[in-house]
Amino acid sequence: MTELCDLTGHELAGKLRAGEVSAVDGVESSLSRIEATEPSLHAFLARSADLAREQARAVDDRLAAGDDLPPVAGIPLALKDVLTTRGITTTCGSRILETYVPPYDSTVWARLREAGSVLVGKTNCDEFAMGSSNENSAFGPVHNAWDLDRVPGGSSGGSAAAVAAGQAVWALGTDTGGSVRQPAALSGVVGMKPTYGRPSRYGLIAFASSLDTVSTFTRDVRDAATLLSAIVGHDPLDATSIQRPAEDYTEGLEQGVDGLRIGVLRDWLGEGVEPGVRDRVEEAIQRLEGLGAKIGEATLPHADYALSAYYLIAPAECSSNLARYDGVRYGHRAEGANVVEMMMRTRGEGFGDEVKRRIMLGTYALSAGYYEAYYGQAQKVRTLVLRDFEAAWQEFDLLLSPTSPTVAFPLGAKADDPLAMYLSDVYTIPANLAGVPAVSVPCGLDDQGLPVGLQLMGRALDEATVLRAAYAFEQDLGFDARPPLLEGIAS
């Protein structure tokens, strides 16, 4: 039997408005699921049960009073622990912020809170969102709901696992190089990264500022459209926020793909892609063609260099952003005879391996004598990737590929090989460099029973077409597999 926490947000919202269930019922269902599955998953770094109950009661009161509430009202939500929440610890999965209690709300959370969203907790993630497996969390890894010996993907692995297992109905993560789409693919849920700058970054603790994008995890595409609509729109507190009002992405969702021109990135279905991934994606292409899409072959000629450019640009921005952790105003502080010694020890003790690697990579790439050759050249390659997309949009409305070359890999498999880990992001990074919207939608299971994700990328600010195609595909496929973990739990 399906419990309330297994419903999609729009299904639960329907029951709330019909008076069949209360928001308190919904949140209690999520909280019970967290109790039952958290020992296996470790998806949360902080839980906020009391706040959630209080917010749910407020929603019930307003519904009883006949208020017309936004569609996100009363729906149990989880937030990646890089999004600030006033009064609730926000650690970024790092020892250096283990005790940090932000004095302000991130804009995305402020908007959702105002709309009646119910926060069940803050989710585990790779430290400062740097990683592709969630193994870089200072507080221990998250386990994949489909196979507890495998990674959920990263860096927003806790949000992905929480939504896959019904701990929350939906969640926010952040996508800098694929950190929402890749864990969504590996965890069998929908991950939607909007155009860079569409949701505010205010209160998103910075990793790489020209790439960081708040993104959604949901169990279906309609929910992605609903949740995204609630967080986008101009924010004067973020100078890179696009100056456009919010829009309702659920409008036009059912228009189908008839006549849409979809370019298949054929090069990304060759060597290096697991057969199980290739098979499901090939079937997805045929399905979309059957639905009336015009399928052609597309290329992004500089995509091979995008990964290299990304692993210079993102660390460069990271080394600059993370300079603020100096033990002075917040966070961990080590002892030191003078201020420089204190700062160096604080950072040496407070940061984990991957964060140190990226800070040093970025410091090197920005240092005297190397700046032009590395960072300057990487920014030029970024221009070429943008031009590749522009050329592709002359012929196509959407680009299609696998989200990740592999399904979820075993915990520890790539932990000692940073470069192998970086290659997990090879298909997701180009959309970040170009700032374009992209979704990962489940397209089936491989022969081990592990989920495969299909990626669709669209033009900047054309979230509507990305979501409309993903919706048509999802409705036709009817993917309804559930993680085996839930078989013993759902009564």
Partner: protein, 97 residues
């Protein structure tokens, strides 16, 4: 070929106190990562402008309207050490001998 870098110099620039074991491990790993990243230099891009930001924007202003900021105690609430209304830090300037 892995790139050879002066890892101790980079760690100093980055203000990271690292153990000898970390220095050696990061020297090897960064060399391999940079060998891959160096591929960007293979691209002929002399005449290509740099992109710092994917969505072009210029001269972004917001209305100059006063609004409440953090109160003093809120701003100091996360301080590792404080003295009165100040953040307290170890000595910055050495005392003369």
């Amino acid at each position: 070929m892995p790139v050879e870098i002066d890892i101790e110099h980079v760690a100093r620039l980055a203000r990271l106190a690292l153990t000898p074991e970390e220095l050696e491990r990061f020297r090897e790993q960064l060399g391999v990562i940079l060998e891959h990243a160096e591929r960007v230099t293979e691209v002929a891009a002399e005449a290509v402008p740099a992109t710092a930001h994917p969505i072009p924007m210029a001269n972004v202003f917001r209305p100059d309207e006063p609004r409440d900021g953090l109160g003093r105690d809120e701003a100091l609430a996360n301080a590792p050490d404080r003295e009165g209304d100040f953040f307290k830090v170890p000595p910055i300037v050495e005392e003369p001998e």
